[in-house]
C-alpha cells in the first residue's frame, strides 16, 4: 500500500514538472456545436471546417491575436525591405524553415507548396478559397526550401496565398490524384489530410466527431502538451456553453452565440470563463437581388431573374431605416456586440464613418420614403405597387438570438408595411455548403437572410472582392461563390481591381472604405451588429489566446493543462 502511495506521489510530481513534455497532459476536449463535415479547407467555406483542419494543416504564415503576420512554416515574412518582395510588387519569395517534416515522416518541400496552388486553381475543382490565389501566374521552386510566387500584376498585399487558416499547405503525395473534378470524390484524403501541425487525425466521422493524436514528428519536440484531442461537433450553443462552464465535461467551446444573461448565469457556476475579442465579424442581413421564386426551377436565385421588388433601392433603404440597432445589441449580445453601419468595421483604418446615420431608427422616415415612390399601403396594412406586395421570406440559422432578432425585425418591418415570413434552418445544413440541399445560405432561396461573416487577417482585399460579379454563387460553380446578394456592378469590380493594384496603405484604406460605402449606400447588405467572438474555456486550460484574425485553435500546440 505504501509503495503504491509512493508510486502515485511520484507520478503526480512527475506530471507537475514535466508539463513541457509532449503528450503529458492527456486529453483535450473541444466542442464545436456546428460539427465539421470535412477536414479539407479548400472544399468548404465553413469556419468550423477550417478550424478543425487547422490542428493538422498549417500555412506559411498566420495572424496573431493583434492581427499582425507571424511566420509559421516560413522563416520570415517577405517584404520589399528585406528583399522578399520585388520592387515591382510582382514577385514574392518565401523560404521554408529547415527540417520540416509531414506527420508521416517525409520532408515538406517547396513542391508541396506549389502543388497546393495547383490544387486550388485546378479546373473544375470548385475550390472554396480560390480568391486567396487570385492573380498568381506561376509558382517556381528553385530549390527545396524556396518558393517564388509570380503575380500577373503588381500585388501590393501578397500575403493571401499560403497564409492564414483558409490557405494551408497540402501534401503533394497525398493529394496528387485529387485534382480538379476528382477533388470531392477523394473522401479518404479529405477526411484525413496529412499535415505538419501539432496533431494528426486518428478518426474522423463527418458531422459528428474528430479524434486527433499528437503528431510524433512535430517540429517542436516538447509540444503539443496534450496527447490527444477530441473535437466533438453538434448540439447547440447553449449545451456547448453549459458543458464547459457548468459541468466541465469539455475544455473549450467555440462561438457561443447566446443571450448575454444566459452566458453570465452559466459562467457563475465557476467551472470556466467566457473569453471574447472583437474582430471583423458582422451580423448582417443579405438582400437577394435575384428572384428566389420556386416557379423558376433551377434558375431560382440566379442572375437570370432580377428580384421583383428588392431591386428597388428605396425598399432596401426603408428596411434598413426601420431597424433599431442599439436595441438589437442589447437583446442579443450585451457587451459582446456593438452597433455598426459597415460591413467592414475593422481594423480601425478601414472603418468608414460615412454611414453612421443608420444607428438611429427612423420608422416615420422609412414610411415617408416608401410613400414617395408609390408603395401604397393596402387594406391589410401591407404596401403594394402594381400588384406586387412587399412580402419577404426571411431565413436564418436556428439559434435563439437569431430567432429573437427575426421576431423583432418582423415587427419593425410590419410597422413600415412590409410583411415578413420567418424561417429557420438547422445551422449545420444552412452553413453546410452541400450543393444538393435547397436550404444553404449560398443557394439563398429566400428574399433576405441573416448570418454573420468576417475575414481572416487584417487585409480586406479578398473580403471586399466577395461582392464582385464573378463571386456570384450559381449552379455552374456548384454554388461556391461568396456574393450572396448576387450584386453585380462594374464600378465596384473596377474598385476591387484597383485595390488589388494599389500599394500604399493609405490609398488602400481609402479604396476599401469607398467600396464599403458603395455597398452600404446601395443597401446591398444591411449590417446590424459588430460581434465580438465569444468562446469559453475551462479554468484548467492554459495557453489559450483568443484570436479573431485566424483560427481560434491557431496556437493549440501551446495549450496545456493547469495543474493544481
Amino acid at each position: 500500500m505504501k509503495a503504491l502511495l509512493h508510486a502515485t506521489a511520484a507520478v503526480c510530481a512527475f506530471g507537475t514538472y514535466a508539463h513541457a513534455e509532449r503528450g503529458s497532459d492527456g486529453q483535450l476536449n473541444i466542442i464545436y456545436w456546428q460539427a465539421p463535415s470535412t477536414l479539407n479547407p479548400y472544399l468548404s467555406g465553413g469556419t468550423k471546417d477550417l478550424q478543425a483542419a487547422s490542428l493538422i494543416l498549417e500555412p506559411l504564415a498566420r495572424f496573431d491575436e493583434t492581427g499582425a503576420l507571424q511566420p509559421w512554416l516560413a522563416t520570415e515574412i517577405p517584404t520589399v525591405e528585406n528583399g522578399g518582395v520585388t520592387e515591382d510588387l510582382k514577385q514574392i519569395t518565401w523560404t521554408l524553415k529547415e527540417g520540416l517534416v509531414w506527420s508521416d515522416g517525409s520532408a515538406l518541400t517547396s513542391e508541396d507548396v506549389k502543388f497546393t496552388w495547383e490544387y486550388c486553381t485546378a479546373e473544375g475543382g470548385g475550390c472554396a478559397q480560390i480568391e486567396k490565389y487570385g492573380g498568381i501566374t506561376s509558382v517556381e521552386t528553385p530549390d527545396n526550401q524556396t518558393i517564388v510566387v509570380n503575380f500577373s500584376s503588381p500585388k501590393p498585399y501578397p500575403y493571401t496565398a499560403f497564409v492564414g487558416a483558409q490557405a494551408p499547405i497540402l501534401q503533394k503525395t497525398q493529394f496528387a490524384e485529387c485534382m480538379g473534378s476528382n477533388a470531392v470524390s477523394c473522401s479518404e484524403q479529405n477526411l484525413a489530410p496529412i499535415g505538419t501541425g501539432p496533431f494528426v487525425v486518428s478518426e474522423f466521422r463527418p458531422n459528428d466527431v474528430a479524434l486527433y493524436n499528437a503528431n510524433p514528428n512535430y517540429r517542436d519536440a516538447d509540444k503539443p502538451a496534450f496527447a490527444n484531442v477530441v473535437l466533438k461537433g453538434g448540439g447547440d450553443a447553449a449545451s456547448a456553453g453549459r458543458s464547459v462552464l457548468e459541468t466541465g465535461q469539455f475544455d473549450y467551446a467555440w462561438n457561443l452565440q447566446l443571450a448575454p444573461d444566459v452566458l453570465a448565469s452559466m459562467e457563475a457556476a465557476g467551472k470556466g470563463e467566457v473569453i471574447s475579442g472583437f474582430g471583423t465579424l458582422v451580423e448582417r442581413i443579405m438582400v437577394n437581388m435575384t428572384d428566389p421564386s420556386s416557379d423558376l426551377g433551377p434558375e431560382r436565385s440566379t442572375v437570370a431573374h432580377p428580384h421583383p421588388f428588392l431591386t428597388d433601392v428605396t425598399v432596401r433603404k426603408a428596411l434598413s431605416m426601420a431597424i433599431d440597432r442599439e436595441l438589437l445589441v442589447e437583446i442579443g449580445y450585451g457587451d459582446a456586440g456593438r452597433t455598426t453601419c459597415n460591413v467592414l468595421p475593422a481594423p480601425e483604418i478601414y472603418a468608414s464613418t460615412a454611414n453612421d446615420a443608420c444607428k438611429t431608427q427612423d420608422i416615420a422616415g422609412a414610411n415617408a420614403l416608401l410613400d414617395d415612390v408609390g408603395w401604397e399601403k393596402g387594406a391589410d396594412g401591407i404596401r403594394a405597387k402594381d400588384g406586387q406586395r412587399l412580402s419577404l421570406l426571411f431565413q436564418s440559422s436556428t439559434n435563439a438570438v437569431r430567432q429573437d432578432f427575426q421576431v423583432v425585425l418582423k415587427q419593425w418591418w410590419s410597422e413600415i408595411g412590409v410583411e415578413t415570413e420567418l424561417r429557420n434552418i438547422d445551422a449545420s445544413v444552412f452553413f453546410g455548403g452541400n450543393a444538393d440541399s435547397p436550404d444553404t445560405f449560398q443557394k439563398f432561396y429566400a428574399d433576405v437572410e441573416m448570418y454573420a461573416n468576417n475575414f481572416d487577417g487584417t487585409d480586406p482585399e479578398a473580403y471586399m472582392s466577395n461582392w464582385s460579379c464573378d463571386q456570384i454563387p450559381a449552379p455552374e460553380n456548384q454554388w461556391q461563390g461568396n456574393n450572396m446578394p448576387r450584386y453585380c456592378d462594374a464600378a465596384y469590380d473596377e474598385m476591387a481591381l484597383k485595390l488589388s493594384q494599389t500599394a500604399s496603405l493609405e490609398e488602400r484604406a481609402a479604396l476599401a472604405k469607398a467600396m464599403n460605402d458603395m455597398l452600404m449606400q446601395n443597401f446591398i447588405m444591411i449590417p446590424l451588429v459588430d460581434r465580438g467572438r465569444v468562446s469559453a474555456k475551462s479554468n484548467s486550460l492554459g495557453g489559450v489566446i483568443l484570436n479573431t484574425w485566424d483560427s481560434e485553435l491557431w496556437n493549440i500546440s501551446d495549450w496545456y493543462r493547469i495543474k493544481d
Binding site: 447553449a238 444573461d261 420556386s294 435563439a400 429573437d404 427575426q406 423583432v408 415587427q411 438547422d426
Partner: protein, 300 residues
C-alpha cells in the same frame, strides 16, 4: 316515433349516469373544457397581441400588467399561452380526426372484407415500418413551399402538419379496429342481421360501429396527446410553424435556455401540455366505460 325518442333519452340518461360514476373522467372533462374555453374565449378578454414584442418590458415577472410575466422579447406569456393553445389543440384535434378517420376506414374494411384484409394490413405494416422523422422531413421539404404559396404560410404549414401527423399515426387504430371487427363479424347477432338481408353498409353502421366505439375513443384520446407532442418535436427541429408562431411546443423549446433563470417560462407551457394530455386521457377512459355496452352490463 315517440317510443324511439323516449328510448334515446333513457339511453342518454344511462350514459350520463355511467359517465358520472367515473370521477377522474368528470374532472378530466371539466379541466379539458376549461382549457378549450380558455384558449378560445380568453383572447377576447385578454386582448394583448401575443406576437407584439414590447422590448422595453422584457423578462418581467408576475404583475397585474402581465399576470404570467413576459418573455425575453417582452411578449406577454399569458397571451402567448392562449395563442399557443389554440394552435396546439387545433393541430391535435384535426390530426386526431384525420388519423382516426383513416384508421377506422382501413381497419373496418380490412376486418370486414376478407379480400381487402391482406393488402390493407401489409400497407399498415409498411407505414409502421417507415421511419417517422425522415418521412416528415421529406413531406415538409416537398410540400412546404407550394402549400405556403397557395394558402398562405401559416395555413399552409397547419394543413401540412395536420396531414403529416395524421398520415403517420393511423396504423395502431387500424390494427385495433380490424381485430375488433374480426371478432364481432362471427358473432350471432351479425349473422342474424345478415340472415334477415341487411346490407354490408347497414351491418357496419348499425351493428359494428357502435361496438367498436370504445377502442376508437381510446385511440382518439391518445392520438390527441401524440399529435400535440409530435407537433412540439417538429417545432423544436425548426420544421414546424415559423419561429414567431406560438405553439406550446415552440414556447417550451424557446424557453429551455432560460429554464434556470425564468422557470415559469418552461413551467406554464409544460403544465398546459401535461394537463391537456392527462385530462383528455381521463376523459377518454370515462367515455369508454360509459359507451361500452359490455362494461355497462357488468356494472349494472
Amino acid at each position: 316515433m315517440t317510443d324511439r325518442l323516449a328510448h334515446q333519452s333513457t339511453r342518454n340518461q344511462q350514459f350520463w349516469r355511467q359517465f358520472r360514476r367515473h370521477r377522474g373522467a368528470l374532472i378530466g372533462g371539466v379541466v379539458f373544457a376549461i382549457i378549450v374555453l380558455g384558449v378560445l374565449l380568453g383572447p377576447m378578454i385578454w386582448t394583448i397581441d401575443p406576437g407584439y414584442p414590447d422590448i422595453r418590458a422584457r423578462n418581467q415577472g408576475v404583475s397585474w400588467l402581465h399576470p404570467l410575466g413576459t418573455d425575453q422579447l417582452g411578449r406577454d406569456t399569458l397571451a402567448r399561452l392562449m395563442a399557443g393553445g389554440r394552435s396546439s389543440i387545433s393541430v391535435g384535434m384535426m390530426a386526431m380526426v384525420l388519423s382516426i378517420g383513416l384508421g377506422c376506414l382501413i381497419g373496418m374494411a380490412a376486418g370486414f372484407f376478407k379480400k381487402l384484409d391482406g393488402p390493407l394490413m401489409r400497407l399498415t405494416d409498411l407505414f409502421l415500418a417507415l421511419p417517422l422523422l425522415p418521412l416528415l422531413l421529406v413531406i415538409m421539404m416537398l410540400f412546404r413551399e407550394p402549400l405556403s404559396r397557395s394558402i398562405g404560410p401559416q395555413a399552409g404549414i397547419f394543413v401540412l402538419i395536420v396531414f403529416a401527423i395524421g398520415i403517420t399515426s393511423w396504423m395502431p387504430t387500424a390494427r385495433v379496429v380490424r381485430g375488433e371487427v374480426l371478432g364481432l363479424k362471427e358473432r350471432d347477432f351479425i349473422r342474424a342481421a345478415r340472415a334477415i338481408g341487411a346490407t354490408n353498409y347497414s351491418i357496419l353502421k348499425q351493428h359494428i360501429a357502435p361496438n367498436i366505439l370504445s377502442p376508437i375513443i381510446v385511440s382518439a384520446t391518445l392520438g390527441i396527446a401524440t399529435a400535440i407532442i409530435t407537433e412540439s418535436a417538429l417545432s423544436f427541429l425548426g420544421l414546424g410553424f415559423p419561429p414567431d408562431f406560438p405553439t406550446w411546443g415552440r414556447q417550451l423549446s424557446d424557453a429551455t435556455i432560460y429554464m434556470q433563470d425564468y422557470p415559469g417560462r418552461v413551467f406554464w407551457p409544460g403544465l398546459a401540455i401535461s394537463l391537456t394530455v392527462l385530462s383528455v386521457n381521463y376523459l377518454g377512459d370515462g367515455l369508454r366505460d360509459a359507451l361500452d355496452p359490455r362494461q355497462q352490463n357488468l356494472r349494472k
